[in-house]
Subunit: 369 residues, 4 copies
């Protein structure tokens, strides 16, 4: 079997900004990621039995008590077709007060309920109301989604990993956690991540990729999907969605984070999305607020010769952050495709991994590597 | 014990429009309501044990298969502090495809999951994705809310009642279903309903009332809350919220329903709300689309002498619908207060019923009855 | 002729909070108001000639250079039917960088262009782009609105007055400035103002009142409109709108100001609005940011015994600000009605002033004064 | 001088769908476009004198009386930094009732006022209120923008051309009308257009291009901007914006048009935008409603084998319309660049036309033509 590598390993460089140490959302200090992956059974679908190809991914904004120490956040729903839990209050209050969980479509409520258990049982929160945040995409092409196989123990497992030394390091991608059964461009999709780091800020993106028609796929502008139109099988994917999590250490307002969340969709566009009607395209951006804006504003002042007050007033200090978001989102999507392996799921549905050797040839043919 | 009556029984007439047969949301043909009420235990709170004062209320837009026969709908979140499930997609797609359930705060996810069970097991839906709609307010002043005591059987019970001959008749109000533990103006709140019916349309409102500071309460403009400031005990209510469901038979677009939903808040304002920061004030409006707009537009044409095209273009045909919404919402809130009985809940917390004899005196003193 | 008094002069007390020195938007330190009123001609309408009943009202957030020293702001469009200029950018950037002007409907663009002149010629702004903010309601029942009679000199006059010692004092109400031709509840409307002041903050509201059906009018909950249904003439008012400006000295985010702006509509609701379809109901809230939140949060801490962090997190410190907004908006509307005098306009259209003697009787009859 | 050609003339084919006869917004039957271009003077800027590089572009949805025959419409403000006039009401009412005009930044109010004149004087509208729609981008790099040189006669000229036989034919692009002084990627920008036509619908896009940093430019995925980083001079462009008009003949709701408007930004993203903070990125989508959805839905039914009701319910019939929007927007931007010629403006500022010979080489180098 072909070795799965990330985009940078193939010398594909999306954009011009530098990645962080792990080229992952965990390059934002304190952010942790944990997966619980459930793969059981084979063959014909028996609802409630399987085959099971599912899981849950936890993203924790910091390693402390998130309820006590809420992080500023905002949600951007490009195409609000989806079952994500907790988003209206996030936007309204401008904060997130639980970890963020990602899973397969109809699991969201069970997972939200388990997250509440976690907040009371493990985090020892003492209040009468908590707003859990859970996102989803629809993995039913491979998974017994109606069976809803994620349990409290899987949620706790993903969270335990995210709150650990391992959780703040490199991030596993592809067929893991919430991304386990997902597709992308009628190939195998799943979890992907990337980051951009400057002297002034860090920003990381994690996606759960599940959208796209084959021919639309572009990698760094190259029409890879067109060239791969012969890769079979390619069962039509009706449920198209992407969940995008953006983390930064810059101390921003919720409204600024909302603007950042909007930019993630520009990165999605570059991979070939035209925002299909049943795609649920949600972006959650949060900030650990560990870095103030001073050095960022000063660096722009130096570059442009403009006054500090003007840069603050017109928010042009956000421009490099916007650019980082676009670049890291595009690369996270490519990483999800590159790291995902071929999977056979319910009813013998197959999602092929993107053939990396051919991608390498295509990128060379178009003068990009 | 004082007999609990509705506002009209006391000769309080909110507004000028006529009510329907039941003065309830069920005056919109086909709309059904069912409650499942759970009251168990007394004394000190033991999380997970009780005392339990909770339940679930189901509102079904019509008696058929709602997934197959979706209804147009819209959501208005005046103050989006809350855990309601399914709202972003309702607004995005402009339809509701499940019954609407109301419950106590942290139950929403269990209830949503049970509603999914209902859609597959009872409604025989054959799709991979369903968007359940569940609203909540926070009844933890009286209930073991953290214990989350609502189960699948309660959800099914409320739905069975809503889909029945009883469901489409008069609606039980006060301490029932999702409204069981709720408060209003530091008095006992809960479920209330009202309707407005003309020759051209029917419109009904159902509320789950859980907001308000005592002194702010106004009934038909009379400062009843000020006059009742001595009613004790009156434990401070920190979680203030109201869920409002508006139903109409007029065939409207989702955007028009959204405008109607916004008007419900004007009715809330008349009862004394100033929209406190932790109040989750959500309105869900839907239409059974059984009545087209022709006779409504003609009746306005007759009244005003304006051209049909103009009335359509500026949507002034919505004005009587707006008025009906404001009136019915105000009255539904008053009915919730009037029909709720004194309840003792967890930790011996007491919510007194509004003393109707005194209300009668106050309304007379201010020249209103 | 009956002397025109303000609501408080008749002992009508809306709500429970204290008013400021002037009971006007100018109770927020630095806020200035200036009117330019144009009344010319009588008789039949000749478009472009008159009769003219129009003007412009300027509200300046502070007495300095507003472009250099922008104020935080937000806009809430309850019913976005209207021609107001500059609002999308205000919400997007969260600041206002010019004075706010109010005028008669089709004047907005001429007035905006003149405001740009003012920014360059008088304020000496040196940039290539400025976002002027101009609101309007439709005074064509009395005015030659199509003639668009407001000129640059009127705009400069209103601004000169607002930037003056007089501008920061008591505010003229009724048939002045932008309010000159406006109606309210089929009576004479116009400009009205009110304020609420505590030890912790000041908040003022100014309205340009132009909405309402007679029978819907309520003053402090009393159905005054019903009792005045015989006041003639009462030419039907088709263009219903209200522009509301809310000022505070509290240092708030744009999102918090947006929440405050939303509350103004609750005050409007109490006077009898059901938000008619062709009503343009816009609220602009801004902050001079002269007062930080510390003493407000401490005072709530003292009252409630809750932790400072909790009060900050759930924004419950906004509750008194919300209440002030609702009260001051309601009172500003009543003041607009009370201070406006009977006016005869184009085509001999008459708007009667609300008969204050009768209002006094009605308020007494309903036990309110 | 190099001959200016359009993208297709160079064999660059954006996307896979077919263009219409003119590959212009006028491929939507009835849509007309007219430009008034003002180029006067040279040399140092004297505000109020010049040099003048400005104009106005009119887009008329159909050749009849647009006030009487309003078209359904929606606005999407990706980045609501801008002075566009009339947008809130368009979204609120879901219709456009005047032609759409595009111009240079501070002209918008004069142009809106002149458009009102046009509606009364030429269109003979007999109402008291009209909502003009005027968009802008900031051309002050080349133009005496503060001087505001567009007059009523220019507005009438552009409208006269749009309402004519010429207006509904091929569309002039580049340095014309509102696009006259605009830039794109630190090269010369301006007006561009493109269309996509199928058996089931027509869709056209017109842009006024004024955004972009050089290195970010991509054409059909090729990093053309990187390769052209040596093209001098390249004065920094601070005001970045794009106005996008999307027209279709499909009978859609305002909400559906809003979804289409959102997709235009995905096309913008593909050319290299990351949505810079001072970019005003507005999309206005309207429909002439001349084609119902039946044949579109049937064609999708045939392709996918899904039920008509399902396709209607999940709006998957919008997918080809979304794709058309993305493709036509991307191509319209490239056409604006390709057709614009080098311009010298105020203070001898120069914007170079994109060197087409070099673009041809670059596209060949990357294997695209």
């Amino acid at each position: 079997m072909e070795k799965r590598v990330r985009a940078r390993d193939m010398n594909i460089k999306i954009g011009v900004m530098k990645t962080g140490k792990y080229n992952a959302i965990t390059d934002v200090e304190g952010v942790g990621v944990g997966h619980s992956t459930i793969i059981e059974g084979e063959g014909a679908l028996v609802i409630g039995k399987g085959p099971i190809r599912t899981g849950v991914t936890a993203i924790v904004p910091h390693q402390g008590n998130i309820y006590e120490d809420k992080v500023r956040a905002a949600v951007y729903a490009y195409n609000a077709y989806g079952k994500a839990v907790g988003l209206p209050q996030v936007n309204h209050m401008g904060v997130i007060e639980t970890p963020i969980l990602l899973t397969d479509t109809l699991n969201v409520w069970i997972v939200a309920d388990a997250l509440i258990d976690y907040m009371y049982e493990v985090m020892n929160v003492k209040v009468m109301s908590i707003n859990p945040v859970v996102g989803e995409t629809n993995g039913s092409y491979l998974n017994d989604s109606i069976g809803r196989h994620v349990r409290k123990r899987h949620v706790f497992e993903a969270l335990r990993k995210a709150y650990s030394q391992d959780g703040v390091g490199p991030v596993e991608e592809g067929n893991v956690g919430g991304g386990t059964p997902m597709s992308g461009f009628e190939l195998k999709g799943g979890i992907g991540t990337s980051s951009r780091v400057t002297n002034e800020f860090s920003l990381g993106v994690l996606v759960q990729l599940n959208f796209g028609k084959r021919e639309d796929l572009r990698i760094d502008g190259v029409p890879v999907g067109m060239e791969l139109s012969d890769v079979e099988p390619r069962g039509k994917q009706r449920s198209n969605s992407i969940m995008i999590i953006v983390a930064t250490d810059l101390k921003l307002t919720s409204q600024q984070l909302w603007k950042i969340a909007k930019r993630a969709m520009l990165g999605v566009a570059r991979t070939g999305s035209y925002g299909s009607s049943t795609s649920g395209d949600f972006v959650i951006a949060f900030s650990t607020s560990k870095r103030d804006l001073d050095s960022l504003i000063e660096s722009i002042q130096k570059d442009t010769g403009r006054r500090k007050e003007t840069i603050e007033a017109d928010e042009s200090f956000l421009n490099p952050v916007f650019k980082a978001t676009v670049e890291a989102t595009e690369e996270a999507i490519v990483n999800a495709l590159f790291k995902a392996e071929t999977m056979i799921g319910r009813d013998f549905h197959i999602r092929k991994a993107i053939p990396l050797d051919r991608v390498r040839e295509i990128m060379a043919k178009y003068g990009r590597i």
